[in-house]
């Protein structure tokens, strides 16, 4: 495993690369969630990376600009630029791993980032949308209210909102809905949607993808979501069965 910064100097991104145990030309980029969902899912994403590397993939986890260890303040985070960051990560993995084909796995908001980043790219061969955010307004409400635990805050004088410890800029709120719209149902590579809690909207997404001719599949593997806190330790669970499903689907 190797941790490093990559990308343009004005926009440093933090990445973690796991090499496969054998010669391989296939890679996987993991697109994370945002805010506390990102932090809670860290263990699960790390475990997934290890499993994928064991299965023969070059793997790159990364943090969007303005999140995690990447450069930028939290207020600098912009959903529209998360997609560009994901594409930078794809290029980096191709360079570091010498891969020719890349799969994308996106968790929560990262699922929408993965879907957008895959658009128009011939080198993306598979996409996994993991517990995808399918209603941006609902997701923003979840972030602002701590999943209903408290009232949504009022913006400050600069229009900044506090999303359970993370600053949401007006630009973030304006751009976020556009991250997920009908165009996301044009993901071309074979796509799998996997959820920890059954969701009719997720099934609807798969149906829409299939209607457009995409090889799409759905799986519900019940369990506690990785992006929710397990007890009160600030981290989420590591669902072995769901992670195994993702590895199996990508290796197929």
């Amino acid at each position: 495993m190797k941790c490093f910064f990559f990308g343009p100097s004005r926009r440093p991104l933090f990445g973690v690369y796991d090499a496969p145990g054998r010669v391989s030309r296939r890679g996987v980029v993991l697109c994370p969630a945002w805010g506390n969902e990102h932090l809670r899912a860290h263990k699960a994403m790390r475990r997934l990376a290890v499993l994928l590397a064991d299965a023969g993939f070059h793997v790159l986890r990364f943090d969007y600009f303005g999140t995690g260890d990447s450069g930028g303040d939290t207020l600098d985070a912009r959903p529209s630029e998360f997609v560009a960051d994901a594409r930078t990560a794809i290029e980096e993995l191709r360079d570091v791993g010498g891969v020719t084909r890349v799969s994308l796995v996106g968790l929560r908001l990262g699922a929408m980032v993965a879907a957008r980043a895959a658009a128009g790219r011939r080198d993306v061969d598979r996409v996994v949308l993991w517990d995808p955010v399918l209603d941006p307004a609902e997701h923003l409400e979840e972030l602002l209210t701590g999943y209903g635990r408290h009232a949504a805050p009022e913006p400050d004088a600069d229009g900044v909102l506090e999303a359970s410890g993370f600053a949401l800029s007006p630009a973030f709120r304006e751009e976020f809905p556009a991250l997920w719209d009908a165009d996301a149902a044009t993901v071309a590579p074979p796509t799998r949607v996997v959820v920890a809690r059954d969701d009719a909207r997720a099934r609807g997404l798969v149906a829409a993808l299939q209607a457009r001719g995409t090889d799409a599949g759905f799986a519900c593997i019940p369990g506690a979501p990785v992006w929710q806190e397990e007890r009160q330790f600030g981290t989420g669970p590591v669902p072995a069965q769901l992670l195994g499903y993702v590895v199996t689907e990508l290796a197929a």
């Binding site: 941790c3 910064f5 973690v16 506390n36 932090l39 260890d69 330790f233 981290t235």
Partner: protein
Amino acid sequence: MSAGTLRERAVHFGRDGALVGVYTPADAPSAGRPVVLLVNSGVICRVGPNRLYVEAARHFAREGFDVLRFDLSGIGDSAARRASGSIGDVIDEDLREAVAEACRLSGATSVVCMGICLGADTSFSHAARDPRVEGLVLLDPYVFRTRGFYLRWLASRVLNPASWRRLLDGSTLRVVRRKRAGAGAAGPLPEHYLFERQAQPDMERAYASLVARGVRFFVAFTGGTRSWYNYPTQFIDAFPRVDFDAALELRHWPEADHTFTRLDARGAMLADVGAWLAQRYPLSADGAGQRASGPRLRRPA
């Protein structure tokens, strides 16, 4: 972005390169100053709760301090240690290696360790065994309930009509029964939470020893500790045989929660700690660092 942020770099260190961290160099020369070492808050990775450690590292770098945030073994991206021994032994070894790496990267000869909760406790424990630790920033460290705590706790209930109502209508009893029924039902603790804290006499001797050695303390308690810390000077009362005097800067922030979720509380904390660091470890006119004697103990308002 500040210069320090642009020059951040990821590091692998320790035995077999198993430990992972991010080094943030100071925006300006920091020669002679200690390097700041950020120790995991509980089992949350080096980014910190609400990205607090990233913000802290960059804030302190702007104040002129090199900073290393890292993951203890088995947390974040650091590998789990295969060596035997208690979790306390593992953490101590990790901290020894982290202090060495922080000094190597910075060129500093001493460190200020900073941590929240378990991060504070492990920093304190390690400092007693590592002469390179010359400062400690302890946020919500473990401290004992004192007589003063119990008096205030009792008074808050006796004088609160709502407490009497809950007692008389059975609500209090139902809560106690629910807590007892739930005890132990949630499963095992993460391994790092098995870290053993010392008994009061041992902790008191450790603090006294650190004070005698010249270690400086910034200690703060938030509202997240109200079940065991409920007045500003409880920390001093908990260790009556320790003459902290000028060695201690003590704060009580009851409006802040345990992980400084609110942006204003977090910003105020970082500003306060940053100012303390700058005051305690000022740069001299020639750019070399020096330790300041600092003001005498200031009891919080």
